[in-house]
Symmetry: C2
Subunit: 243 residues, 2 copies
């Protein structure tokens, strides 16, 4: 018992200040494994708009997101673009077992990453089924999110899309804050052009619909970036308006 406690305190220096340590994939690692991973790990800070993974490149490094927001984008030959997912701390970034699809990752805000070689993760997976399970569970979550968003892209109006986007961000900013109806305040992590690429709209339509919802009292906006939602129920209703 004593020994175990001592052992437990042997956490890599690099991990000690990590708020995501218990929530991300690191949460399922035992202290030895965490040490092994920690030794190979480097922290990095990337500024907004930096490209983290470019489409088609062979990624031999994986990362955990410690803070900030990452956007995953798909690009068509003529320049049309679609953001297919947003990732937040403590999400795992990178695709084990290769991927046929061409996706690139970009920092949407300033992002702090914890990066390590793919081979290290792969050897940890081999010795720990829980780690594979954890990755599997994140993928299942991402699949659910992708499908939710398909409904938004395919069937919602521009105004509902904006409301749905704000609703999703509001819930991500404060995950423990359940659908408490009280006021919620947060910064939009994307600029208008990114919101447009996420929702399948143009920046002009995004701007107009934000104005419309603001005037309808669904939320207020400060400095173009900070959103205040007085009543979450009202925002939620705006995500799916009956005729």
């Amino acid at each position: 018992m004593e020994k175990k406690d001592i052992h437990n305190s042997e956490v890599p220096v690099i991990c000690r200040s990590c708020e995501a340590r218990h929530r991300g994939i690191c949460g399922v690692l035992d202290p030895d494994q965490l040490m092994k991973l920690g030794k190979q790990t480097t922290k990095q800070v990337r500024r907004a708009d930096e490209e983290l993974i470019s489409a088609g490149s062979d990624v031999r490094t994986y990362s955990n997101i410690m803070s900030g927001v990452v956007k995953l984008t798909k690009l068509m030959a003529d320049g049309r673009q679609q953001i297919v997912a947003l990732q937040f701390a403590p999400d795992f970034m990178g695709r084990p077992f290769h991927s046929q699809s061409e996706i690139s990752a970009e920092a949407a805000t300033e992002v702090r990453l914890c990066s390590f070689p793919a081979s290290t993760l792969e050897s940890l997976i081999a010795e720990s089924p829980e780690l594979e399970r954890k990755l599997h569970e994140q993928n299942l979550k991402e699949l659910d999110e992708a499908r939710d968003w398909m409904l938004t892209l395919g069937r919602k109006t521009a105004s509902e899309k904006i409301a749905s986007f704000f609703y999703m961000i509001a819930n991500h900013v404060d995950p423990e804050l359940e659908v408490g109806n009280g006021p919620v305040k947060f910064d939009i992590p994307l600029k208008r052009a990114d919101i447009a690429d996420f929702l399948g709209l143009t920046i002009e339509t995004v701007s107009r619909q934000i104005t419309k919802l603001r005037k309808a009292g669904v939320f207020e906006i400060e400095n173009n970036r900070t959103v205040i939602v007085p009543k979450m129920s009202k925002l939620k209703n705006a995500c799916e308006v009956e005729h």
Copy 2:
């Protein structure tokens, strides 16, 4: 060696005629495991439009698709609907480790299923990491497909959406037939209303765009259901038209 051969031939009767046996999740099971699963398994045939899994229900049965096409749909309160995925043989159907998202599954065509209790699968997973890996890989594939489709929904025109849909079906009908440029013939597994729900369009727009592409010589149609693509390259080009 002799013994192993005998053992290998002890494949459940129910599996012997299954074309999907080596490709789906069953492909990673050893003969003992296959026997165990086979004993709990029932075959069923469901007709087109039957509901297989209803949104929000607690699914205690999983299935492998032996033939036919299954559509996964999401429904809004006011009736708007989006098909978020199509599944083909030998896909695994069901969601291990629960799901927060409300999806229902319906037979798009006549479907033959191989069904077994969730608990059986879960105990097989516990003893075979390869099985979990196989399920994980299918989920990764589904995630890639979902994100590809998000680009289609968010950024493609009606005409490109139709072409993309036909292109996807053509590739699924004959997976071993690589992008051979020669003529491909297949049946559309969905009726117009389903195509509309898959592409985020109305049936009228689907009909008009199909007519347009047909008149442009991208494909021919027989009996409203059978499509003949003379040149796959032409269909592929129609998936992403430069201005």
